[in-house]
């Protein structure tokens, strides 16, 4: 049994005076202990909404359906009340832009110690000591806990945000675009830190990003999302070397590589609106190899080889893609 199993996850938003948006449309995936898993896609594909649903942190105008099983327990079964018992203790999250969300008038160490008291893990001097240990663990001297966020560089603030997420010793860390606003050198430092934490603490990681090369370098497995669905999932090596969905193939081709000599392509068109339902494959209007049936037959995510799933009708043809 996997550590975390997500099945049939749907999220709808009901914005005031606008049509309902079906942001996540039946997402299934599983995460093993200590595994590094990537959730990739462009803006608006539902990747952040998916992990916010795992944390039970979606806004009040949203509806969630489906199961999120953690050690066999469906943590979404009782809504907000049942998620709260797991949030931070079992599943923790580093939010997008977390490094800019530290309280500017509180010392960093205090900010890390505060949730520990809230969750009854440690109080007073013990919490401060633990905050120091957490800072050391992410590569910041414990004494820096006495400093304010503005005295930290961007990379250090991101490390502090990671330390904060680890305060309650979670088994799963969700990281939403953890390196997007950082320089490449600092990005490399943070990615190395996340990889090391997974190895040292047996932490499972879900890395959410639009940056395929980051996932390729950090994650063992990944899922590619498009228009609220997972369209392909498998080992990152398989996704790059033998993609089974045109979107994955085109997304890699749209990403420049330092030493790549191939032409960098762009994918024409834009993702479909999620406030209307269209028949057929959501990627068909932008696909370079559509079939006649793609227009009205929605492809399901199917196993195409061991450990590799894709939602494309081409996989049923001989000599696919």
């Amino acid at each position: 049994m996997s550590l975390l199993e997500v099945s049939g996850l749907h999220v709808w938003f009901e914005p005031p005076s606008a049509a309902e948006v079906h942001a996540v449309q039946g997402v299934d995936f599983a995460l093993d202990e200590g595994e590094r898993f990537g959730l990739v896609g462009e803006s608006g594909c539902g990747k952040t909404t998916t992990i916010l649903a795992l944390m039970g942190l979606l806004p009040p105008n949203s509806y969630v359906a489906g199961e999120v099983r953690l050690g066999g327990q469906n943590i979404l079964a009782g809504g907000e009340d049942s998620v709260r018992a797991y949030r931070w203790k079992d599943i923790a999250m580093v939010f997008q832009g977390a490094m800019n969300a530290l309280n500017p008038v509180k010392k960093v160490g205090w900010q890390i110690a505060e949730p520990m008291a809230f969750h009854g893990i440690a109080q007073g001097a013990a919490a401060r000591k633990r905050a120091g240990e957490l800072l050391e663990m992410v590569g910041i001297p414990a004494a820096s806990g006495e400093r304010y966020p503005h005295e930290f560089s961007g990379g250090m603030r991101q490390r502090a945000a990671i330390a904060m997420a680890l305060a309650c010793e979670p088994k799963i860390l969700l990281a939403d675009e953890p390196t997007t606003a950082l320089d490449v050198m600092v990005q490399a430092q943070i990615l190395e830190l996340l990889t090391r934490l997974c190895a040292d603490l047996g932490l499972a990681l879900i890395l959410v990003t639009h940056d395929l090369p980051v996932v390729a370098q950090v994650c063992e497995r990944a899922a590619v999302m498009y228009a609220g669905e997972i369209v392909e999932a498998g080992a990152t090596e398989a996704l790059y070397h033998s993609p089974r969905h045109p979107y994955t193939r085109l997304l890699f081709a749209a990403t420049p590589d330092l030493y790549g000599r191939d032409a960098m392509i762009s994918i024409p068109g834009a993702p479909p609106r999620l406030d209307t339902t269209a028949a057929g494959c959501p990627f068909r209007p932008r696909c370079d190899v559509p079939l006649a049936r793609c227009a009205d037959d929605h492809p399901e995510l199917r196993l195409v080889e061991p450990g590799h799933q894709a939602a494309c009708h081409r996989n049923e043809l001989v000599g696919a893609l």
Binding site: E42, S43, S153, G154, G155, D183, V184, M185, V186, Q187, A188, Q189, L191, E192, H210, D211, L212, P213, V214, A216, Q217, A235, T236, E237, Y240, H241, L250, L251, F252, A254, T255, P256, D257, L258, Y259, G260, M264, I265, S266, I267, P268, A270
Partner: protein, 352 residues
Amino acid sequence: MSESREEVRPAPAVVAGATAPEVPLLDVADLTTYYQVRRPLTERLTRTPQAWVHAVDGISFRMARGEMMALVGESGCGKTTTAQTILGMVKPTSGAIRLNGTDIAGMDERRLRPLRRTLQMIYQDPYESLDPRFRVRESVEEPMLVHGIGRSRAQRETLAVEALERSGLAPARLFLDRFPHELSGGQRQRVAIAAALVLGPDLLLADEPVSMLDVSVRAGVLSLLDSLRRSDDMGILMITHDLSTAARFADRIAVMYLGRIVEHGPAADVVRNPQHPYTKALLSVVPKRDPRERSTPQILTGETPNPVNVPAGCRFHPRCPVAEERCKLEDPQLRLPAAATSPSHQAACLLI
């Protein structure tokens, strides 16, 4: 800090793209831009010496028409200040910026304005650079009104339509009356490009032109810039932190660190045969698409130091993995490395 404001300067010994005898499109010579650090009253009263941010600290390069050059570096390296100084948004402390032979460094606004036509800029964030209350038509026609281009509304509209279609927004009539919020990120950036194109610039400065855009549309915008510089014989100075994009689209790459160009040369040479230890480290941490190519990144500790207190000697030595004793004393100048395979490849390191 403006003691070195000489009028005549010796040209750098080797400069790529300067083979043609004619006046280069852009000739930046020994440019420095320092910012004053604001002092609290107590420091001013005690006459504490004024501190300066050495944002751009003596850089020289030339660009030819039709050429795309990338200025690459991490935040705080001075790449954006370089662009702002060239545009005249920031006054340089010393040095020359010759645009088609005319020195525009520190030129006053009144004299600079007619030259602005030849010098246009595209910003990183098309969500902020377009006025949300302007229709596409107004965004593209406004620069023409400012510079007095087009004799009538009809003529300006014709020019706007042409610029939009050349920017990949065809048929342009469908876009003219839309507002920015009705466009995607890629379309907005194309509107910004069209607004620059209507002036027929010789030099386009593009500050991270695709970093705010979705991966799937980046290549389209970059290919557009690439084709424009060829068809219009326009120089494009692209400021970016993304070495992969620079390697793919630029003819030449200049790598900046703490206000200096530390390596400069043809893009392929800089990427495949890097000479400066900083360039090598920077290249090693660029994530590769192929998971099988997981290299061991050479991660430098710490972050770029504060440009107020620039380290003595080689400014990279405190973070350099191969620094020697003499690197603390001697400030290396750009020169042809022994291992270079192109005569226009330069690096500023004592150990090459």
